[in-house]
């Protein structure tokens, strides 16, 4: 069997990440009792940076690899870049965070990198079984990461809830794959699309059931309502660095799979699955924002907010066609930047045993910790959707796409929700700058890597809001690659 070298170049980021993660396991194995977390952290950073660089190599070798299981096109390149960049930020903030929590164990980095490998596979594979394996690699690592703070009852409870509900949802996804395989005789998305266009109406109902089952599994992973119940508890219980990780990369990767399966393989049935997306979008936006209003725990608040943001992306999803896809991709990039920035600040201020995690702890911090406060403010403004930030442009494109496709009702619900959401984001800024301090918050430890993470996210949010042209062009082109036009 002849395997061209190009095939390996097309999965170069995955190879680099896997090799780095295995190397970290060997480094940790070398230290029999203790841990060499500092060394492992450095190795992980270098490896992830190398993986990000190898996305450039990947982009020079577009095409399919390994009997059509893996595909390098604009769409997968975009998500590779986004996912690995998110992991880089999470690594930067977790180096400081783990030191503050006295959780320095190199296995954390290995799990993080393995999870990233899984997400990259999800972004690039066009084969349902491969997608399933990628999804499981990333999920299983996330379960372990959630429970990483073993002395904390909340952390292990979060891990247990995520594990049970996550595997439950995965089983639905897998059943959907099995039925698709039965109806079309293949698990390759492009072959499925072809064979479904040949088959007459006979398999229509089977495909519908399959689509619904896959929808359940994927909606769970992106925490879209009505499958969002796990999100607040898991986000609250997991260590902040892990929460940051879960809210960014896996969401982007799952949306990549979501878009690819539904547009490529099931594109012909869009008039039927459209309604599932529509209902989920409305429910997610409303339940997410209404839930967030009542929260004072920062992690829990951002958990509800992430449900709402999944709803906005689903609005773009429901606006069928290239406009919808490109809006969803652009919004995901903005969402990853602003959410990671917010979590970077929270993890910096939390300190040992996550003492300062409540909104009331943030009162009066604005002038005491200017760097943290400015970064948090920029991210909150972007989450609201104030002009000059990425969040504004992202929402603009989403609602434009919705109006263009005559989804006026959906767009209006989305706009009303954005206005509602402004309340709880602005409340954070108001606490920072306008309230007198009530809790004596000690000086957070100085960590260069955390500061880099915060500033990088804030700058990214502003860059996406002010000069998004190059990214927008790329996104529009790659959306075309997905629909095959």
């Amino acid at each position: 069997m002849h395997v061209p070298a190009d095939y390996y170049l097309r999965i170069l980021p995955e190879l680099v990440l896997t090799a780095t993660a295995v190397l970290i396991m060997l480094i940790e194995g070398g230290a029999r009792l203790g841990s060499r977390a500092a060394l492992s952290g450095t190795v992980a950073l270098i490896g992830t940076a190398a993986a990000l660089a190898s996305v450039a190599v990947q982009s020079a070798h577009r095409g399919e690899a390994f009997s059509g299981m893996f595909r390098v096109d604009g769409f997968s390149l975009f998500f590779h870049g986004l996912i690995i960049a998110a992991t880089l930020i999470v690594l930067l903030l977790s180096i400081g965070y783990l030191r503050a929590q006295r959780l320095q164990r190199g296995e954390f980095y290995a799990l993080l990198l393995f999870a990233t490998v899984g997400m990259c596979l999800m972004a690039g594979s066009v084969e349902l079984i491969m997608v399933f394996i990628g999804l499981e690699i990333s999920s299983i690592c996330s379960y372990a990461l959630c429970g990483f703070w073993r002395a904390s009852a909340r952390s292990s409870e979060a891990a247990l809830k995520y594990l049970l509900l996550g595997s439950f949802a995965t089983a639905f996804f897998l059943y959907g794959i099995a039925l698709t395989y039965g109806a079309s005789g293949s698990t390759n998305l492009y072959v499925i699309a072809r064979s479904l266009s040949d088959v007459l109406a006979g398999h229509g109902s089977l495909i519908l059931v399959a689509a619904a089952l896959m929808f359940v599994g994927l909606a769970f992973k992106v925490s879209a309502a009505p499958f969002q119940v796990w999100t607040p508890d898991v986000y609250e219980g997991a260590p902040v660095a892990v929460t940051a990780f879960m809210s960014a990369g896996p969401k982007a990767a799952t949306f990549a799979v979501f878009l690819r399966i539904f547009y490529v393989a099931l594109g012909r049935y869009s008039h039927t699955w459209f309604w599932m997306i529509w209902v989920a979008a409305i429910l997610s936006m409303c339940l997410g924002n209404l839930g967030a209003l009542r929260q004072t725990n920062m992690k829990r608040m951002l958990a509800y907010s992430s449900i709402a943001h999944a709803g906005y992306v689903l609005v773009a999803f429901a606006a069928l066609g290239e406009h919808g896809i490109s809006a969803a991709m652009f919004y995901l990039a903005c969402y990853v930047a602003m959410n990671l920035g917010a979590f970077a600040v929270i993890s910096n201020l939390a300190q040992q045993n996550e003492r300062f995690i409540d909104l009331h702890d943030y009162a009066g911090l604005g002038f005491r910790f200017p760097l943290q406060s400015v970064c948090l403010t920029i991210c909150m403004l972007s989450l609201i959707g104030i002009p000059l930030t990425g969040g504004f442009l992202g929402k603009l494109f989403i609602f434009k796409a919705a109006f263009q496709n005559h989804l006026v009702g959906l767009a209006i619900v989305g706009l009303l929700n954005s206005a509602l959401a402004a309340y709880y984001y602005l409340r954070v800024i108001a606490f920072l700058y306008m309230r007198p301090a009530t809790v004596e918050v000690s000086q957070p430890q100085r960590s260069l890597s955390m500061n880099v993470a915060m500033v990088a996210c804030a700058v990214g949010v502003l860059w996406l809001g002010i000069a998004p042209n190059s990214l927008l062009n790329f996104v529009v082109h790659s959306a075309g690659a997905l629909t095959g036009r």
């Binding site: 069997m1 395997v3 295995v22 060997l26 194995g29 070398g30 029999r32 002395a151």
Partner: protein
Amino acid sequence: MNSQPNYMANYLPILIQLGLALGLSGGILALSWLLGLHRRTRRKLAAYECGVEPVGDAQNRFAVRFYLVAIIFILFDIETVFLIPWAVVFRSLKLFGFFEMLVYMAIVLAGFFYIWRKGVLDWNTPERAE
């Protein structure tokens, strides 16, 4: 469905096999019980090489180490399942398949190295306090 009786006849060899197996094992047990001596000492009534020392009742707690070893056993046991399809198509995959499998084994071995160095396999070391 007029082939129904024929179809059931397929089960006849299985039935015979089942009868033989039951007869043989039951017969041997019965014979040894009939012919053998019965000295019921404490040692003799103890479970034979079955892990947990049967002191007290079954509700007893036993070391978390058992779970750990069980978990690791399951993992390494199931990894070998990939060797079967690989062996079936080995000839057509040629060297490519061979090296891919070497890489796979290397990754599994890296995991093995990790658990070995972390002392999971040392049965006698006392459990470290977390």
